[in-house]
Amino acid sequence: MDFDVSQLSAIGPIVALTVAGCFLLLLEAFAGGRQRAYLMPLTLAAVAVALVLEAGQWRDAQLATSAFHGLLAVDRFSILLSSVFLVGCGMTALLAPAYMKEHEFEFGEFYALLIFATAGMIILAQATDFVTIFLGIETMSIAVYVLTGSWRNSAKSAEGAMKYFMVGAFATSVLLYGIALIYGATGTTALAEIARQAPRVSQAPLFIVGFLLVIVALGFKIAAVPFHMWAPDAYEGAPTPVTAFMATTVKAAGFATLIRLVATTFSRTELAYGSSGWASILSWLAVLTMTLGNLGALRQDNVKRMLAYSSIAHAGYLLVGVVAIAVVGADARGPLIYYLVAYTFTTIGAFGVVAWIGNKNDERVMIDDWAGLASRHPAQALAMTLFMLSLGGFPPTAGFFGKFYVFRAALEKPTLIWLVVVAVLNSVISVYYYLRVVTAMYFREPGRELRPLRSNGVTAALLIAAFGVLAIGILPSWLIDAANAALFLQ
């Protein structure tokens, strides 16, 4: 009724990405393979436009605004998270063309799907209504299912896509049933209205079960143990640039929703504490996720699969930060955003090196294949070392400050000391398998001949990742300040 064109500015980045995606599809359809070289730069241009629009919103969004009848919000939280997704999308696009060409599965729709998935994530970051949360998750997931299975002639890729799809679709149904029960208890799907009704319904069994189902469904999306069984296979099977995309932005999008829900809608004490409160559930999930993720990674000789388990373990550290929201309130979101940024740069970089090292006949993902890399390709070995150190949490990398801020937030109240102790022990264990890659590269004799990818795009992505890891590691304060200023729409 009262539609206002100015509302379009709230979805500017989403519109820009969607238009760009349609344009790329048309270009691929009508120009065929001839114009394929332009697709990656055009994707980057779309990402750049969307980032500029996000930056414009950051300047305007002194006060968080709501748009489209409360379906979406523009607040600094959504802007920061959307920027993370966009950077992840751009870096994936840089990695993709050389990788697809080498492994002979080039197709132009890849970029359109990548862009649409990113648009879905931005919807998710801005969503303030369960309808938009459902829609954003589906837009993101469906595009990523296809990307996972896009490596033709690879049985692993098809298998990973199948498992990912089955588990993901199951999680979607669980999410929807949970939303329906919450609607039954409150009569609304708007997060703000649900938060207003929370005092009345927070003891209503329908509401509690619905809320548990939503948490479980998000647990599937962020691959928290015990809802992680799809993740190692999907990550290993997918084309490596897609794995980088899944392990970072898809996970960050799940966390964006989880953080917004627990920090605003479900923030009431009686929902957070108690045996079926989310704080205790999420702290157990965090312990399981960290520990089993690390134990899984310890046993891997396959670097790609090791990184897949490592990303599960990192979801556990992030969950520690989410639990901290229960204790110190919404202020704990700043460290989480910092961690997500640090983790995104580091993980895309690490998977980027994995994508770089292999070629068509020889994926070279086993750790023995990395022996002696430093003597032949010192720059890439140095970059990988940097990413491994950041994942393991060594100063002065971004990963160190991510863990530092998250654990410090959890330590503000003594109730979470045990959780932080478990997390720190897990970080110590994880150092073993990260350093194993480093020692293989530096202290072992070179094996077979290497024939890595030669591509400016891959080099650029690795440089951006390394720069990001160092920049926010050496100068962490500006990012943590911005993250702490990332208010929610209340």
Binding site: E159, M166, Y183
Partner: protein, 100 residues
């Protein structure tokens, strides 16, 4: 007058049946049908509550869900056909290339 909770309980039963299909069956097609059953059970819950609250928003949501379910089913079936081309089987227990 039919009590609303009859519909809600029917939906709960359908959700359980669908979930059992997904968890216990290994035929990917049947699993997909189980997922469709779950989505429909959630939709029935939404519509029943919509009737209870006299609120058309939940019906619009159910409309959206139907569209999304169609897209999801199409993608799922496409992936399934793709994997069948590789493996000649739709049994998910045979998806064991990658070691655990």
């Amino acid at each position: 007058m039919i009590p609303i909770h009859w519909f809600l309980e029917l939906a709960a039963v359908l959700f359980v049946v669908g979930s059992l299909g997904v968890i216990l069956r290994r035929n990917a097609l049947i699993m997909l049908m189980g997922i469709e059953l779950q989505l429909n059970a959630a939709n029935l819950t939404l519509v029943a509550f919509s009737r209870a609250y006299h609120d058309a928003h939940a019906q619009a949501f159910a409309f959206i869900v139907i569209a999304v379910a169609a897209a999801e089913a199409a993608v799922g079936l496409a992936i399934l056909v793709g994997i069948f081309r590789n493996r000649r089987s739709v049994n998910v227990d045979e998806l064991t290339i990658m070691k655990h």
